[in-house]
């Protein structure tokens, strides 16, 4: 307890207000904004001075301006030094990329970042700050065929937290119907009138989409499904999309996903849902980094084993996991997402135990899950990146432990419900 400085009444230590005399007792700051805004007169004077400076600079620029152009990288020199400007979509600031040859599968939209890195040409050290001081404006645009059904879109270039090493980033969005060849062009207008143009070509190849269902394939039991998946993995190209629409059958043996990404989509009929009683296992992928999606499937265990174990990129959506020792396990070198799933009466609901992921995180969403009656709902033993995992709209009910986070992974639980 402490004393109110105004009336002397005893009040709780953490109180900010005295209920006896109704006075505020905590110390307060009274912030005043910096006088960054200028009067009209000052603006006019500044404008006149600026105009004079511009005229001077203009005369200089008239004599000097040069255009520097390059694909993937370009070198720029002035009296203060030489710089390497390069573009790519990776986290490697020293890897110029002249061409991005990518694929588009069945997803509605694809996105990648276009990074602009600036290094000292001799040492390769980050020169962003000093170089950007010489830049008066920066533009990013994509030159593409005019008759594209869904033209490639991009965001205004700006520094972003997703990669603080990059001087500027633009996010590029495309679909399988976006027409290429296209060219991504960074244009920097320098204070001295020079122009730097940096380009990267973009080729998008729509992949083949294979759809299997009960009408064109035998999906009656695990052995049939396993045989189909093995055949499909051999026949399909690495980037092709394989969708398997599963009937509301109960699969009573463990399914082992072959070395290819698969989308397994469950169904429901007359109250019966696609169910696996011995779980699904994905080993370490040998090729590709595409995500396998598991949607609308029930996993019903007997208290032992693992419902979905994966060492490849996986994402479970709207699945239900009941009574497993571990419902979902991500292990090895992998990023795994679970969203809008139900985890009930498991030893561990979602167990992340993956280190040294070869890939960056696929997505930060772990939202909309219901965790009920598990010994431990979420166990973040090891998570391969330090991105903040978003557990928004998750509901945790009657679990022994809701989130066990020995790895101290950043998590956002502000929009989760614990009850």
């Amino acid at each position: 307890m402490k004393k109110c400085p105004d009336c002397g009444a005893s009040i709780p230590e953490e109180a900010s207000f005295c209920p006896v005399c109704a006075s505020s007792i905590n110390q307060r700051r009274e912030p005043e904004p910096p006088r960054r805004y200028l009067s009209r007169k000052t603006v006019w004077m500044a404008a006149i001075l600026l105009l004079a400076a511009l005229i001077g600079a203009g005369i200089y620029a008239f004599n000097r301006p040069k255009v520097y152009e390059g694909a993937g990288e370009v070198f720029y020199s002035d009296s203060e030094g030489s710089y390497q400007l390069l573009t790519n979509y990776t986290l490697d600031r020293h890897e110029p990329m002249e061409l991005l040859d990518t694929a588009a599968g069945a997803e509605e939209r694809y996105r990648f970042p276009s990074y602009l890195y600036i290094n000292y040409a001799d040492s390769g050290i980050d020169a962003t700050d000093i170089f950007m001081e010489k830049v008066s404006s920066a533009d990013f645009e994509i030159l593409q065929p005019e008759d594209s059904k869904t033209p490639i879109k991009w965001s205004d270039p700006e520094p972003m937290d997703i990669n603080q090493e990059a001087a500027l980033i633009s996010l590029v969005d495309f679909t399988r119907e976006s027409k290429t060849p296209a060219q991504l062009v960074w244009t920097l207008h320098m204070d001295n009138g020079d122009t730097v143009k940096l380009s990267m070509d973009l080729a998008i190849t729509p992949t083949t989409i294979y759809d299997y269902n009960s009408e064109n394939a035998d999906l009656s039991d695990t052995a049939a499904l396993q045989a189909l998946m093995e055949r499909a993995a051999e026949e399909a190209g690495e980037r092709d999309t394989i969708n398997i629409y599963l009937p509301p059958v109960t699969y009573t043996e463990q399914l082992v996903v072959p070395d290819h990404a698969f989308n397994l989509i469950g169904s429901e009929e007359d109250g019966k849902r696609t169910t696996f009683t011995e779980g699904i296992r994905m080993g370490v992928p040998g090729k590709g980094y595409w995500i396998s999606y598991f949607t609308g499937i029930d996993f019903r265990g007997d208290g032992n084993g693992i419902g979905l174990s994966t060492a490849g990129r996986a994402w479970a959506k709207e699945c239900r996991f009941y009574n497993w020792k571990t419902a979902v396990l991500g292990y090895g070198s992998v990023w795994t997402n679970v969203t809008d799933c139900v985890f009930e009466d498991n030893g561990i609901g979602f167990h992340f135990n993956a280190r040294d992921s070869a890939y960056v995180a696929s997505d930060t969403h772990f939202t909309g899950n219901e965790f009920t009656g598990n010994d431990t709902a979420v166990f973040l033993e090891a998570v391969p990146t330090d991105v903040k995992m978003d557990f928004g709209q998750c509901v945790f009910t009657d679990n022994g432990a809701d989130i066990d986070n020995p790895d101290q992974q950043p998590i956002d639980i502000t929009q989760a419900i614990f009850q």
């Binding site: 109180a15 207000f17 005399c21 307060r28 009274e30 912030p31 960054r36 930060t364 991105v387």
Partner: protein
């Protein structure tokens, strides 16, 4: 003394301290009270003083200063504001938002009903929808603002940040001068340009911060 406002999210009551007779607002709501807690350490004539905050899980009880004055929403039912009045009020609101933004918070519900006019000064109230913004998030899909005043990014296009308040302030300016949303009838001349800049769909094209808007005024 009386219930001032009641909604699904909570209630706002006017109460009187028994021995001193001082009047206070007692706000009870479900949600995130972190901005109220931070405001315990601030004093600004353009924001109500927050006296005490108690939270249990997502239920919050806030004791705050009662602002004796006229609600802008009520005044707007009678008549519009002159450009001179608008300029003074919006300057006050910029300064109020500057306090929140400099704390790292965003109000997310700037609208006439949340502006009180006390003497010659405007006071921004109701921080129930306010949040600390997180620059690392790639989206914020919660819809808490009031339809028509909420910026596009509050509907999930991108993380709501200080730009969302600038958007809502632009809509507010237009309504003070014309009685209509800018999409229906834009304020004339210079005011129209200010409103247009505030309400750009791309937050990067809006005023960089409230001080830049203040400078324009």
């Amino acid at each position: 003394m009386e219930v001032m406002k009641e909604s699904d999210r909570g209630t706002v009551k006017l109460i009187r301290h028994r021995s001193t007779g001082k009047r206070f607002v007692l706000r009870s709501f479900q949600g995130n009270g972190e901005v109220y807690r931070e405001l315990l350490a601030y004093r600004s004539s353009r924001l109500p003083m927050i006296y005490e905050v108690a939270s249990e899980e997502d239920r919050n009880l806030v004791l705050e200063e009662y602002i004796e004055g006229d609600n802008m929403g009520t005044l707007l039912k009678e008549s519009l504001f002159t450009p001179k009045e608008t300029r003074k009020i919006v300057r006050d609101l910029c300064l109020a938002l500057w306090v929140l933004h400099s704390m790292g918070a965003v109000h997310r519900d700037v609208k006439p009903e949340n502006v009180m006019l006390r003497g010659g000064e405007a006071v921004l109230i109701d921080f129930d929808a306010a949040r600390f913004y997180k620059e690392e998030s790639d989206s914020d899909t919660r819809i808490l603002g009031t339809t028509g005043f909420a910026a596009p990014e509050q509907y999930g296009l991108s993380q709501s940040d200080t730009g969302a308040d600038i958007y809502a302030l632009g809509v507010l300016i237009n309504i003070m001068l014309t009685g209509s949303h800018p999409s229906q009838k834009l304020a004339p001349d210079k005011w129209g340009r200010i409103v247009t800049r505030c309400t750009q769909v791309n937050p990067a094209k809006r005023y960089k911060d409230v001080l830049h808007l203040l400078g324009e005024l």
